[in-house]
Symmetry: D2
């Protein structure tokens, strides 16, 4: 029987008209990966509103509907050079800009009374290494920020640790698309490369529960 991976992408925010995360996720939707010594794995995509609270509610509905064994949420990190699997989600909402419903919480918890942080379940160093092996610029990130991306990541990990304990999950930030930075001195990555990189990540997440003993991320 086929297994399913849920990959999610956010709606555009912050004045952008596209969100590379959504573009990547829609390009991956429906792909079936053949996995050694296992049933094939289907990628199912979901679109997540860039809204505090609602984003987690929509994610949970999709988890209920799709019954994935791995969940990989993807978000835009404008200004980054690399595809960056995130190491840790923190229990902080702190918005410099409003979300798509106009909310801008300051120093609020994602989950009141929740633990300060959750580490990703996914083998992030292995993902980075596998992307680098196919020529995709990639590195570990030690902060998913404090906007809706970190909010969803924290919400995901809280759901997985408290309710869907057999499901593994994590979060990946990706750069702007070239079309988003045509007149700005900012890094970007081509959609084809990002789709390829994310497919590599899904495959690694599906095939490996243990990570490689490699250091990763900035030392400070």
């Amino acid at each position: 029987m086929e297994k399913r991976v849920l990959v999610t992408g956010f709606e555009p925010f912050g004045g952008e008209t596209v969100n590379p995360a959504l573009e990547v996720v829609e390009a991956l939707a429906g792909r079936v990966l053949d996995v050694d010594g296992s049933d094939p794995v289907q990628i199912v995509a979901a679109r997540i509103p860039t809204v505090f609270g609602t984003s987690i509610a929509v994610l949970e509905k999709e988890i209920e509907r799709i019954s994935p064994f791995v969940v990989l949420c993807v978000g835009q990190a404008g200004g980054r050079h690399h595809i960056t699997p995130e190491r840790v989600a923190i229990n902080v909402d702190d918005a410099r800009i409003p979300d798509n419903a106009g909310n801008a919480p300051v120093d609020a918890p994602v989950v009141p009374g929740g633990t300060v942080g959750y580490l990703s379940d996914l083998p992030i160093k292995r993902m980075v290494r596998a992307m680098q092996d196919v020529g995709i610029p990639s590195s570990v990130s030690n902060s998913a920020g404090t906007f809706v991306c970190n909010h969803l990541f924290y919400g995901l990990m809280h759901l997985l640790k408290t309710k869907y304990t057999r499901v593994r999950g994590g979060f990946i930030h990706i750069p702007f698309l070239p079309s988003q930075v045509v007149g700005r001195e900012l890094p970007s990555m081509n959609l084809t490369d990002m789709v390829r990189g994310l497919e590599v990540c899904v495959r690694v997440a599906v095939e490996h529960t243990l990570d490689l003993p490699l250091s990763g991320g900035k030392e400070c």
Copy 2:
């Protein structure tokens, strides 16, 4: 009776011959701050080895010896533009370069079985605002990395939450000195400005337990 603030700076590491944190801390040593409606506060400085494990042990000895009511640890973040009060310490040691004793742990906990993260006790947004008010480039950081700086920050917060529960504390990263980047395209900050910025931070930490309702740090 005089109250004491302990400020700490690391020994040089990573091929550098100075550590701006140590320079700043030694410049602040012995200063006495007059505080409205309170006894004056003396700044006591300590030098911390840039070594996993040992750094926390030395810090605890200094806390025992000095009996501070606030502890502010300072570290070098080469490549940053601003003085950056840190928001969160995470329970991860992951070293891209060896520490000064040759240790390079990968994905190890700072405290086995410890919580994933601790938030700073200090009013970090108030510190940023106060530094900006006197013309010092400053912003909140959402990651202290995974090297000895984060290690000490996590170790400090663990001590304060489990043993020295009346003491408040936090961590601040500072840029390179100009002399460290003479031939490199990297940002730096003058020692005078960093000393002034850190004195502002100590004063804010001493005078305020509550933070301002301002957002801070990169959204991702």
Copy 3:
């Protein structure tokens, strides 16, 4: 009768195993552009050694052999975010690293007694605008440096102004490929996007002798 555009790319240098300029130029080789109200235009490619002196000699041989009406030289500018048509070549060779034959001139002229600078013949603002219109990050550059790229650009313009006066020409710098920066925090651009951008530039160079009245490049 068919007209020809000569596009040139350098051999890899500075420790790199590929040169994106050469990759782009070889991908464009042989393409024929249909141009409104004119004969079709064929793109002919040439490979240029990254060597002071020799590079200009090889370029002149190719001009003699191919008889182009437009010459567009392309070089790698590692660290740039954009495809950057160059505004000006200067009569200075000043090498921080040796060229591929081990030469490292300091403050030497490209052409002894030559004028200090030559402006590009090509409509560089129109090129930038046309690339931006198809979603390619692009801007004008005011310096081609002082290594072999500027050397060839100056040599080209000197040839065009003193000998091949009916030929127009210029120089374009392009970013690293993603595969060149997998483990480095540097910008890059996908080969497909660079090929598309350069084809746009060739078309603009062929169709327009006058530039648009738009400002371009950093003010300092």
Copy 4:
């Protein structure tokens, strides 16, 4: 008899309320440098409007009034990390933003019919080395841009080459002050360090007509 060096700084522009060049120049005004084997040298400062055309006219009046043997013009280069002696002025006015009188020329010559470029008269590599020797981040720049800074630099060199042929001159760009970037992720340099760096440059310009055989500036 005392010799005089004219140093100039621009009025604030582009929405800034200060110009570090003006601050530095006013701090240097009146200083007298003792020079080995020569009469002492006095630094005379002048304030230059950030306006195309007028800036050069004011500069010429000051040269007439002061009779300097060296002229060093200083300008703000927001976003740079280093104090950067400029290598070359180009005969191009191309303004992305209006000057302080509302002018925004596009691709216009500074001097109609003038040569494309002038190289600095000053020993720029020696200046860089001397600043680095006292711990000031410094490097050669290959472009002064195309705004009023380059305009004045070109105008200065044109005056020196065509009219005041016994006077030597050049241009230096300096970073933002820390107070200009408090809430922005941009590099800056302390006023004290910039004053010290510029005094070093004046001394080098006074004492040396020949440069050191060192490479300098980005290769592209």
